[in-house]
């Protein structure tokens, strides 16, 4: 019962159906599972609810699934980089649920950790709090946020092994460790699959229990805002 697959398409084999809830890692285009997103597009599965901090850019990342109209609803914190997104949203073709970024991260962690709800002060007194339960702790008011789970989580890691153990590089880590926990099935694409035992057990970011499938795949890794200084 190997976790290792040869291609992103095979790694998603048998999993993609209309109406699924998908979590997709990454912050902007940093740490997105490029190949798995493309394979999800190729699967043709539609009416998807996608939980991801951002929505990609036009024609790349989750933008690919927007072009093909496979996404019914996005749950995100910021979607400013995508004209097609804006067009579909303003046209009423796409549902959108905004979450504060930290609330989104914590809701995903909670979903993976068996916590159905938690209280936070983020968003109290704002639109985000409307319709949510309010509760006071030690004289301060908090709102109830619920855990989020997904049918499938797709994440991008730096290195992984056949047990599903993963490590991430730099800020490409972002939402992926929590999403790996919150996916009923988690599929990881990695820059490199290394032999079991090559990763130091002290420094594994995502233990293999959270990863059901893994594939080595080459990423393009586009940069959104190339910013440099004088040498």
């Amino acid at each position: 019962m190997s976790k290792v697959f040869s291609t992103a398409g095979e790694a998603l084999g048998g999993l993609c159906h209309d109406g699924l809830t998908i979590m997709s890692g990454g912050f902007g285009l940093c740490g997105i599972p490029e190949n798995l997103i493309a394979a999800l597009r190729d699967s043709g599965a539609s009416d998807l609810t996608v939980i991801s901090n951002n929505a990609g850019v036009d024609g790349f990342g989750l933008g690919q699934l927007l072009e093909t109209r496979q996404i019914k609803k996005m749950i995100s914190s910021y979607v400013g980089e995508n004209k097609e997104f804006e067009r579909q949203y303003l046209g009423g073709e796409l549902e959108l649920e905004f979450n504060p970024q930290g609330t989104l991260a914590e809701r995903i962690r909670a979903g993976g950790a068996g916590i159905p709800g938690f209280y936070t002060k983020t968003g109290v007194g704002t639109l985000i709090a409307e319709g949510k339960e309010h509760k006071d702790f030690e004289g301060e008011t908090f709102i109830l946020e619920t855990g989020l789970k997904a049918d499938i989580a797709i994440v991008k890691a730096w290195k992984g092994d056949a047990e599903g153990n993963l490590i991430f590089k730099a800020t490409a880590r972002n939402f992926s460790p929590m999403m790996a926990m919150a996916g009923q099935i988690t599929v990881a694409e990695v820059d490199e699959i290394v032999p079991v035992g090559a990763l130091d057990p002290n420094f594994i970011h995502t233990p293999g229990i959270f990863v059901q499938r893994i594939v080595e795949a080459k990423c393009e890794k586009r940069i959104e805002q190339l910013t440099v200084r004088e040498a």
Binding site: V79, T122, T126, A170
Partner: protein, 212 residues
């Protein structure tokens, strides 16, 4: 003369203290990093998962896996550490960040801030702003005192949807500095930009502020 964007950032940098952990918002607040006093140790947090943010890379040394919350390529410092988004916002929500400096569309006299949404326009999302204003120990709003039509942005009550309520501790605009007086629960003019008159700032401030 009112302050330039760069001078506003320099003034905000005077609020830094040695050992502070600081989150800087996009726009003018980002410029504050250029004014950290020599010899002062300030650690910049980027909410996408990094402490100890370094400068922009030299051309050719950029790394697509290493960006800040504005999606700009950056570099590490010897003290840097990376972590996931849940840990990053545990720092923010848990009150571990000493100071957040962020832009604003409106700040109200009660400390409310609006900086994420204009009804009727395409809404891009709040990103981490709501978490920052709710969680960070001290929040400074850095913004132009008036909008393009000359109307005050430092007002009695926010008209735009809030980012957070009762959370701004200091306002720094191109005209001056206003510190929240906890005892009176009211902002107090602390400093005027050079050659800005009290009358000018009074005329351009809708908020009920203590001027004496």
């Amino acid at each position: 003369m009112s302050w330039t964007r760069n001078e506003m950032a320099a003034r905000a940098a005077q609020e830094l203290e040695d050992g502070f952990y600081v989150n800087l918002g996009i726009g003018i607040p980002t410029l504050v990093a250029n004014h950290i006093p020599d010899g002062m140790s300030v650690t910049l947090q980027s909410e996408n998962g990094m402490l100890g943010m370094g400068p922009f890379p030299i051309a050719g040394e950029e790394d697509a896996d290493l960006i800040n919350a504005g999606k700009q390529t950056i570099t590490t410092l010897p003290k840097s550490s990376f972590f996931d988004s849940a840990t990053s916002f545990a720092m923010i929500r848990g009150g571990h960040i000493d100071l957040s400096i962020l832009g604003a569309m409106e700040v109200a006299e009660n400390g409310d801030i609006a900086n994420w949404m204009i009804p009727g326009k395409m809404v891009k999302g709040m990103g981490g702003a709501m978490d920052l204003v709710a969680g960070v120990k001290r929040c400074i709003a850095l913004f132009d005192h008036t909008n393009k039509r000359g109307e005050s942005k430092f007002i009695k009550a926010c008209t735009l949807p809030l980012t957070g309520q009762n959370c701004i501790d200091m306002v720094i605009t191109d005209l001056g500095v206003f510190e929240r007086d906890k005892a009176h629960n009211q902002f107090r003019l602390q400093e005027l930009a050079p050659k800005v008159t009290l009358d000018e700032v009074k005329a351009k401030t809708e908020a009920d502020v203590i001027f004496e």
